[in-house]
């Protein structure tokens, strides 16, 4: 199959069982393994040993509507340190869903300017492995 460029418009961020609206951009959580030095005196090339997968963050930029229940749910999750289940569903012809758990660690409103809209950056730390499935069906109840 020939690889196809796909623009990000149409990507869905599900938090719990509902889609977050007015999302401007998402930085999905990277997957990074710990690199452990295993160099021996006789080695001629440094090749690290691979350790456990590191924690990673997901960053969501959104227009912020404090009256929106789904936006407010992120505030409540921050307050209660609740573990959320997130899904990023891609807009490909055959969608790919990355599902993982995360906790809200930062709620950072942007500067309020006269002609600017209310926006904020939400940062979550991933607390579980990423499960990737093809298709947009949700396993979230």
């Amino acid at each position: 199959m020939t690889a196809v460029k796909q623009i990000a418009h149409g990507t869905i961020l599900n938090v719990g069982s509902t889609a977050q609206q007015l999302v401007i951009g998402i930085t999905p959580p990277p997957r990074i393994r710990q690199e452990i030095d295993g160099t021996a005196l006789a080695d001629t090339l440094e090749v690290p040993l691979l350790g456990i997968e590191q924690k990673s963050e997901i960053v969501v930029n959104q227009f912020w509507d404090p009256g929106d229940l789904n936006h407010h749910a992120l505030d409540e999750a921050f307050d209660a340190k609740t573990q959320l289940t997130l899904q990023i569903v891609t807009p490909h012809a055959v969608p790919v869903t990355d599902e993982f758990t995360a906790k809200v660690t930062k709620l950072e409103p942007e500067e309020l300017t006269v002609g600017g809209a209310f926006k904020r950056k939400v940062t979550l730390v991933r607390t579980g492995a990423i499960t990737r499935t093809e298709g947009s069906s949700s396993s979230i109840a």
Binding site: Q21, L22, V23, I24, Q62, V114, G115, A117
Partner: protein
Amino acid sequence: MSQFASDFRSFLLDQTAIAAAVGTHIHVGSVPQPTAPPYIWIGRAGVSSERTLDQAQGTAPDEERWDLEVWSDDVGEVQDIAELIRALDCAKGAFGDGTIQLLIVEDHADDYVPKGNFGDEGYDLAAFQIQILMYSAGTSSSSP
């Protein structure tokens, strides 16, 4: 005339002092001939949006930018009407049949090329850029 243009013209005509100064002589895109001064010409300069991942096709732009020109054969009259236009800065709420969240009035730069008069009558001009943010068309709106 687009719904936005119609609402913009209605908004200007709803301003009592402006309507008293120019009557119904607020023209969108072209000025009928003959038109006695003073008059106001408006024309769309552009639109822009900061889009979201879930944005639906056909969503109204976040920002409309319009050129507004005040023309008259009396420089004092131009300046008087220009003050009425400047007084619209930070208007919000009703906008013709629709609503807006904010209107911003800026003087155009000196190198602005006016479009509302190509004659040689020696008219005076005051030119503005009008930013209109978060316009929503009214539910009863329809293009004339």
